[in-house]
Amino acid sequence: MNTINDRSKILKEFVPANDDDMIICRCEEITKGEIRRAVHDGMFTLTEIRRYLRTGMGLCQGQTCSKLVRGIVARELGVSPAELEPATSRAPMRPTEMRVLGKEVR
């Protein structure tokens, strides 16, 4: 459900960390530092992070990284991961060739 979220909320200052270059989204090769930075750029929801950085937009569609990204964003925002709604799931559940998706049998 929609909850009021003031985006001018002051976050703790961005402090670079040792593991900022750790790959989090394996498909799109997005690092922890990029995710943390994006939160400070104002991307407060997992959907915005995904649209801004492409986390979870690769071949696997976030099957591996979504929980990891959520943990990082939650920490940066100082909230519990459970408060962050995962991005929407979309068909097809597995990558599907155009020639296959275009061949329907009813």
Binding site: N2, T3, I4, N5, D6, R7, S8, D41, G42, M43, F44, T45, T47, E48, R51, Y52, R54, M57, G58, L59, Q61, E85, T88, R90, A91, P92, P95, T96, E97, M98, R99, L101, G102, K103, E104
Partner: protein, 376 residues
């Protein structure tokens, strides 16, 4: 909760609202943006096909498109410090039959009369520009200054910069009404709060109709579902924005390598709604079949995601971008009818002029709210 008063209250945190907020803040206005969704740019702004084109547009909005492409898009990435993936490799509107060619040359002539460089080219010329197109394509209209960009990044880029400039964005804040105070639109009522501004910009897509209704204004628009899909990353093939005479599909290859295509099944006017923009079970397959006729070599490309979005389809298919003299203080920017993305930076800038200068550099008379007249 902080201050709920500002020079301008923008209703709708899509690319129109965000761009307006950005240009307003740049000119020193205090702005609050209210967005119903939990996410900024969650409507059409993040769901469209990314076209930044002039060709194929209605004459009335063409000046906005031409202005934006000339003056705003080329430097937008630097301006927003966000790579919006703007690519100006031209736009091909493809035709497969003589009937198609007729439609296309009609549109081209229209645009030429406004001074746009757009011309009709043959099938061979089309394949010189984009060699992957099938022989079924017999010609196209070609506009070399058109292009595409990443809608999500452009929308969030405006947001990021506007926020940096001090614009207050509040998400999850659903506006229920605008309230006049002493004859002037001044208060914006949400489910839990009341905001106040000298000016109110209503840029809430489809929702604008309901909200405008609270001050007795009606904009004739209706919902229509558009669907898009995206493939896995493919080797770099071509940079053009593509469309077809019959609008079977439209799309482009992104900087990332994936192809984004939009299209329709012809049942868009009748799609059911379960509260979320939900894809229909038949459209993605239909779009794929459409694409493969034009690009046989993409048949092995894998679709990784499909999505849908409701567009605010205006009765005459161009937006309302207009001050409301009847309701002083209220500015409308809605009804973009599925092609608002490409003109969004220009619209944002013009809206800021409307507020700050009282008038706009571009003549937007044809997009006024009171243009809707009965046919006879």
């Amino acid at each position: 909760m902080g201050n709920r008063c500002a020079d301008v209250i923008v209703i709708g945190g899509g690319i129109i609202g965000n761009a307006a907020a950005y240009y307003l803040a740049k000119r020193g206005c205090s702005v609050i943006v209210l967005e119903k969704s939990d996410h900024l740019g969650d409507g059409g702004s993040s769901r469209n096909g990314g076209g930044v084109r002039q060709s194929g547009r209605d004459k009335r909005e063409l000046p906005l498109a031409m202005y934006g492409i000339k003056n705003l898009w080329p430097t937008l990435s630097e301006e927003l410090e966000t790579d919006v993936e703007y690519c100006q490799d031209g736009n091909l509107r493809l035709g497969k039959t003589e009937e198609h060619m007729k439609i296309l040359s009609g549109l081209a002539e229209n645009a030429q009369s406004c001074g746009l460089d757009v011309r009709m080219i043959s099938g061979e010329e089309v394949r010189d520009i984009c060699p992957y197109l099938s022989d079924e394509v017999i010609g196209a209209s070609w506009c070399p200054t058109d292009g595409h960009a990443n809608p999500m990044l452009a929308t969030l880029g405006f947001y990021k910069k506007a926020r940096e400039l001090g614009v207050r964005f509040i998400t999850g804040e659903e506006v229920t009404a605008i309230r006049k105070i002493r004859g002037k639109a001044r208060q914006v009522i949400t489910k839990e709060n009341v905001y106040e501004g000298e000016n109110i910009i209503l840029a809430a897509g489809l929702k604008s109709r309901e909200i405008a209704d609270t001050v007795g204004v009606d904009i004739p628009m209706q919902p229509a579902l558009l669907e898009c899909l995206v493939t896995e990353a493919e080797p770099e093939m071509f940079g053009q924005m593509l469309g077809t005479a019959e609008a079977d599909f439209y799309g482009h290859q992104t900087k990332h390598g994936s192809f984004v295509f939009g299209g329709s099944s012809n049942f868009e006017g009748f799609n059911k709604d379960n509260g979320t923009p939900v894809n229909s079970s038949i459209t993605a397959s239909c779009i794929c079949r459409g694409i493969m006729k034009y690009f046989p070599s993409l048949s092995d490309a894998k679709i990784v995601r499909t999505w849908a979005g409701w567009m605010d389809l205006c009765a005459d298919k161009v937006p309302v971008i207009s001050k409301m003299e009847e309701v002083p203080g209220l500015i409308l920017a809605c009804g973009f009818s599925g092609h608002g993305f490409g003109i969004a930076p220009a619209v944002g800038e013009q809206l800021s002029e409307m507020v700050v200068d009282g008038s706009t550099a571009l003549d937007l008379t044809a997009l006024r709210y009171d243009r809707f007249q009965a046919k006879i």
